[in-house]
């Protein structure tokens, strides 16, 4: 019998044989108390700063509380939830969010996977250019989003100028931020610019995890490159790609900073994503109860969708 077959490690076995009072004197704190001493502060911090507010938000969501009014909290049951779900505007904001999430994820997947496939060919200088491509995702979305408003200025901004240079359309004939039809795509464009590197980096890791011998075997079987892509590359990269999509979908669904500074929900409310609605009702209209209910709905949606998705991801991984 080897040490690995024994329950516990060498130290744990020795510890088990030592009388407790001797162990305490020899080794200071017991393992169990060290474990709790080490883990408890983290759990306490998370309970205080994350869970307590969440529970409070759930409680507030059943009240008509307004935090700028000195009136006492009054419970109104599920009125807030009914108001939200019956409100057509809220549904529109959810639609705008869905449009944003689906479009940006689709673009990120196509461009990110494409770039990863190209970088994986290991041309000269590929690691330098990979780092260059990664830069946008490390930067502050708010600070960068703010600056994009200059780039998108119809007259003085370089974006319109470049477009007009290539298409011939006069640069002041369209406004990326002010136009009702263009603005939803503007936020998709900037978010895709920012987060495509994320998908690319994870896909690249997926590609590198595929052992060479599989391709060599496929080559022996005379599989065409096209067939190799669909039969080997894509299925092997899929778990990685799905992980990237999970993180990015959550990120896009909760998007606030970039869009708040780029369009702040405008023009009208065509780019008003749910988190911007939430911020407005909580911190501009001070409808605390109503906004807490919306927050709970948002949280349940993210959490529920993420859970279902993770199950699907695990199934793909097991295949």
């Amino acid at each position: 019998m080897t040490a690995a077959d024994e329950p516990g490690t060498l130290v744990e076995r020795i510890a088990a044989q030592t009388p407790p009072h001797v162990a305490a004197r020899v080794r200071g704190l017991s393992d169990r108390s060290i474990a709790w001493l080490f883990i408890a502060p983290t759990i306490l911090l998370l309970l205080a700063i994350n869970i307590f507010p969440l529970v409070w938000a759930i409680r507030l969501s059943f009240t008509s509380f307004m935090s700028n009014m000195p009136m006492p909290m009054r419970f109104n049951g599920i009125d807030n939830y009914i108001d939200i779900l019956a409100d057509e505007d809220v549904w529109q904001h959810f639609q705008a969010t869905a449009h944003f999430v689906v479009s940006t994820i689709a673009l990120q997947v196509v461009i990110g996977l494409g770039l990863a496939l190209l970088i994986n060919r290991q041309f000269r200088g590929h690691s330098f250019w990979t780092t260059v491509i990664l830069l946008p995702m490390m930067l502050s979305p708010a600070v960068v989003g703010n600056f994009w408003t200059l780039l998108f200025q119809p007259q003085i901004g370089p974006f319109n100028y470049l477009i007009s240079f290539f298409t011939g359309a006069p640069p002041s004939s369209f406004t990326m931020i002010g136009d009702v039809r263009l603005a939803p795509w503007t936020i998709v464009l900037v978010n895709t610019w920012m987060w495509t590197p994320y998908v690319m980096l994870i896909c690249l890791a997926g590609l590198r995890s595929i052992p060479d011998y599989i391709y060599e075997a496929a080559e022996v079987d005379r599989a065409s490159p096209w067939r190799q892509f669909w039969a080997i590359t894509l299925p092997m990269v899929l778990p990685f790609l799905m992980l990237a999509v999970l993180f990015q979908a959550i990120q896009a669904f909760e998007m606030f900073d970039l869009v708040n500074l780029l369009t702040s929900g405008g023009p009208g409310s065509v780019t008003e994503l749910v988190s911007i609605t939430l911020k407005r009702s909580a911190f501009e209209k001070w409808e605390t109860g109503y906004s807490s209910a919306l927050a709970v709905i948002l949280f349940v949606t993210v959490f529920g969708a993420a859970n279902i998705y993770v199950k699907a991801l695990n199934r793909v991984k097991q295949r």
């Binding site: 507010p53 930067l139 708010a142």
Partner: protein, 316 residues
């Protein structure tokens, strides 16, 4: 690899490599164009920054930086002529445009706030994260998987969704608009990342090292301090940098939970205004100063980037 082919079957042909390289480099250049434009704008004069058509070539000036760090008032030329001669280069630069420097701008305070909150929350989150990660990695903790999932799930919460009760709580505890309030909040957000990343790093350190130390008469705590910590140093450093980047970049909480006193740079930069609208060179100067450290850190972190952005799920 067979002797008859010049390259392995799996390796791309030279032509395929060239094509791939060309496309990737083109994408890379397009993608950093906005960043280069920010840098360039920082060194433009106000009129160059908003000229039509957009200017590629311009005479560089430090006006943007001077505007960023000072508060200025416009004065009539005869008033400026009567003033004693300018003592410094930046005073001269302002006066050439008919402005007189009235004092320093609040930007320095915001920068200091960003640094204090950034480093404060990083130290706290990394410290707590290291301890918890060691606990989860080395001891049999009851319900360990559930606790780890709980820690991860706190990160999934939409920041705006918890902002309302946190705002009320902070008002009540007098933590609203304080550096310590932001530090606690960012630590809570970062600690989930820190635990997950560091657990991965500590799992990779062979247990035998500590066991040898314990056999040699070290206590658990001594073994942790003298054996595990030095081994995990790279991982801890990488984790700390990820925490720092998050705190440095964070906008939503900073916007909603701070105002004049503890505000950090991200909510402040959009409000750098000059006469009649945003002063773009000053905004660009602030943005450049704010983003540059992150660019260097990204280059340093290259090897650990993948791990950091996936909570240790993908390690390469």
């Amino acid at each position: 690899m067979s002797a008859t082919t010049a390259h392995s079957i799996v390796e791309a042909s030279p032509r395929a490599k060239t094509v791939a390289g060309a496309i990737v480099i083109l994408y890379a250049l397009i993608t950093i164009l906005p960043l280069l434009w920010i840098c360039a704008t920082a060194f433009k004069s106000q009129s160059d920054a908003i000229s039509y058509p957009p200017k590629l070539l311009f005479t560089p000036t430090l006006e943007g930086f001077v505007d960023l760090f000072t508060v200025q008032t416009r004065q009539p030329p005869d008033f400026i002529a009567k003033l004693p001669p300018a003592k410094s280069w930046y005073e001269k630069l302002a006066r050439e445009r008919g402005m007189v420097i009235a004092g320093p701008s609040p930007v320095v305070g915001r920068f200091v706030n960003s640094l204090i909150v950034g480093f404060g929350s990083t130290i706290l989150a990394t410290l707590l994260g290291t301890l918890a990660a060691y606990g989860f990695s080395r001891f049999r903790v009851p319900l360990a998987d559930d606790l780890l999932f709980f820690i991860l799930s706190t990160r999934m919460m939409p920041p705006i969704a918890v902002a309302v009760p946190i705002y009320l709580m902070y008002r009540w505890l007098n933590l609203y608009d304080t550096q310590i309030g932001l530090i606690l909040l960012y630590s809570a957000v970062n600690v989930s990342l820190a635990v997950w990343l560091l657990k991965g790093f500590i799992d990779e350190i062979p247990r035998e090292y500590e066991e040898a130390a314990l056999v040699d008469g070290y206590t658990r705590l001594q073994a942790f301090r003298k054996v595990v910590l030095p081994q995990a140093a790279t991982g801890i450093a990488a984790t700390a940098i990820f925490c720092l980047i998050f705190s440095w970049n964070e906008y939503a909480f900073a916007l909603l939970l701070t105002s004049a006193n503890a505000q950090t740079m991200p909510p402040f930069i959009p409000f750098i205004i000059g006469e009649g609208g945003q002063n773009w060179p000053a905004v660009a100067a602030a943005t450049t100063l704010f983003l540059t450290p992150i660019v260097f850190v990204t280059i340093l972190l290259r090897k650990h980037l993948l791990r950091g952005i996936t909570f240790g799920a993908v390690r390469r």
